[in-house]
């Protein structure tokens, strides 16, 4: 039996087993189980990426049943990228959480459940990235949603419960609408497998309505403006390690499904005008999210609104994809680099914000002056993550913007490039507003004494990763070339 061919299955089974074991291991041993699982999943994800680079995309038949009866997993370059991103961020967040959720703190409500829920969420995310079946997407989305909502509320405070309830209702609305879309699509085509749909989809009102409903539901789950109303509260009031994974990974899960439906499953112009609408909403998200981030007085709210803005960039690929293979390649590589750099930098920012809040004992930006003096590495990490958010060279964010601007100029639709540049300036404005306070050289009264080294250095490690990503862009573009989107578009032979 070829072990490499089993990797997609293992990427779901291993974190699932880890989740179950961490539950029975008890709260003292659960962190060790989670760390061991995280290391294993990272190794599996890297192995999958290498395998896809060598041999191209492949399918994994769960239980040995093939489509259309079975539910296949599909491993392509883009899925491998998201799996590796999830594994890197996941490992760092797990390490950070061992310092954040102290096992000796018996009073903390629900903290013992963090490990199990987090590994369940990781399992569902991996499954979501790999699934090749539109109904399985529904199941994975719900599993991600259930664990995410529960993780938001494990702090147990009124604000967290309120945010969790709002998140849950948005999640239910999205899931039921998605399922209605699947029902209509199945009524019209009798198919659920994405690859079969891609080759058999013909013009049909019912199928088109179904796909439109599915995309609308996924837009709600991805929190694209104007469906972002649930995100700032949920991401802002969750415990910081949870905020990090929600902002950097969970929104990418539903986005990846939109990407595959729009660029791979549906023929061009199957839903005329939708790609323009998504591009315009993405632009609106960049401006609106950044302006809101600029107005926030609490640090995690600022970071959460920054996510609303950064999600917008991901949607610029859809209008650009209409302009031929070269522009599509540039734009797809651009959004994949953006997804990676935002994933790393935003996780770093949220972890950094969590460490700052622990040190100061509050979350008011205005009273965080002098952080640079007491926690230089932490402040440097936040600043470095800001560099990527703004898209300053040399950073992953810069590489992503460069690729997207090139795509916009090559397409002749220069206004998308104008949106990208405006977004960078606005990101600079809200990041400098935060940094100008942190970098003030004033003595500070700290709530907590010297923090754990993990909480100081791990945000910096993630931010450094986001900056160094600029060196890995050739690798990302190779993986993009090995994605089903570009292979089916005829770009990659």
């Amino acid at each position: 039996m070829n072990v490499l061919a089993q990797l997609p299955g293992l990427l779901v089974v291993v974190p699932l087993a880890g989740a179950a074991i961490s539950f029975v291991a008890g709260r003292r041993r659960a962190p060790h189980v989670a760390l061991a699982t995280a290391l294993t999943v990272l190794a599996l994800a890297v192995a999958l990426a290498v395998h896809v680079l060598d041999d191209g995309p492949f399918r994994y038949q769960v239980g040995g049943w093939g489509a259309p009866l079975g539910i296949d997993l599909v491993a392509d370059g883009a899925a491998a990228l998201f799996l590796v991103l999830t594994a890197i961020v996941g490992l760092v967040v797990t390490l950070y959480a061992t310092a954040y959720f102290r096992t000796d703190d018996e009073t903390a409500y629900g903290h013992g459940l963090f490990w199990t829920l987090w590994l369940f969420m990781w399992t569902s995310l991996n499954a979501l990235f790999l699934t090749g079946d539109v109904f399985n997407v529904y199941v994975c989305l719900e599993l991600v949603g259930i664990s995410a909502v529960t993780l938001v509320t494990i702090g147990g405070g009124a604000e967290a419960l309120r945010a969790g309830a709002r998140y849950l209702f948005a999640s239910m609305l999205g899931a039921m609408t998605y399922l209605l879309g699947v029902a209509l699509l199945y009524a019209a085509t009798g198919q659920l497998d994405m690859d079969v749909l891609r080759t058999t989809l013909v013009a049909d009102t019912t199928a088109a309505t179904g796909l439109a409903l599915m995309i609308a539901a996924l837009v709600l789950k991805t929190a694209l403006v104007p469906a972002h109303f649930w995100l700032p509260a949920a991401h802002g009031s969750a415990p910081s390690p949870v905020s990090a994974v929600l902002s950097s990974l969970v929104v990418k899960g539903s986005y990846f499904v939109i990407l595959r439906l729009m660029l791979d499953v549906m023929p061009a112009d199957y839903l005329p005008g939708v790609e323009i609408v998504l591009g315009v909403l993405g632009s609106a998200a960049i401006v609106w999210g950044s302006v809101q981030a600029l107005l926030q007085t609490r640090i995690k709210q600022l970071v959460a609104y920054s996510t609303v803005a950064q999600i917008g960039y991901l949607f610029l690929v859809f209008p650009l994809a209409r302009h031929g293979a070269d522009v599509l390649t540039l734009a797809l590589t651009g959004v994949l680099v953006h997804a990676l750099s935002h994933g790393l930098a935003k996780a770093g920012l949220f972890l950094g914000a969590g460490s700052l809040m622990t040190r100061f004992g509050h979350d008011r930006i205005a009273d965080m002056g002098g952080a640079v003096r007491s926690a230089p590495a932490l402040t440097f990490g936040v600043a470095l993550a800001g560099v990527t958010m703004m898209g300053l060279p040399p950073s992953g964010g810069f590489g992503a913007k460069w690729l997207l601007v090139s795509a916009a100029l090559a397409s002749g639709e220069w206004w998308w490039a104008a949106v990208l540049v405006t977004g960078g300036l606005l990101a600079a404005a809200y990041m400098f507003r935060l940094l100008s306070v942190l970098l003030k050289d004033t003595p500070t009264e700290l709530h907590a004494s010297k923090g754990d080294a993990r909480t100081e250095w791990l945000p910096l490690a993630l931010a450094l990763g986001a900056v160094l990503l600029v060196l890995a862009i050739p690798l990302v573009s190779n993986l993009a070339a090995a994605s089903n989107v570009l292979i089916h578009a005829g770009v990659t032979p």
Partner: protein, 106 residues
């Protein structure tokens, strides 16, 4: 085909009612029940789909989808009710429109 249309029309109606309730109702329990309405509507459409080709026998795939969907919806409903109950215990509020007076200050 007409049986299928009846199921679909009924399902869409339930889904629309549920959506209205989820968005417009203030009370949190109403919202949870409304989400269940939406689910029932979709399940009704899917069950109707299984009956589309009487000559070939029932289509098992929509039934499998409905079974899976019911399991997921039960779990979501339980989670929703648990959160609503905890929120009520913590704040004494039964809706999300009123601001809680004592917030969990993070």
């Amino acid at each position: 085909m007409s049986t299928y249309l009846v199921y679909t029309a009924g399902g869409v109606l339930l889904y629309a009612l549920g959506t209205y309730g989820l968005l417009a109702k203030r009370h949190l329990i109403h919202k949870v029940i409304s989400a269940n309405f939406m689910g029932s509507g979709v399940f009704l459409i899917l069950i109707g789909l299984g009956n589309r080709s009487p000559e070939g026998g029932p289509d098992p795939v929509p039934q499998a989808m409905v079974l899976t969907g019911i399991v997921v919806t039960v779990a979501l409903t339980a989670l929703g009710l648990a959160i609503v109950k905890r929120y009520y215990t913590a704040t004494g509020l039964d809706n999300l429109d009123d601001e809680p007076s004592a917030g969990g200050d993070r």
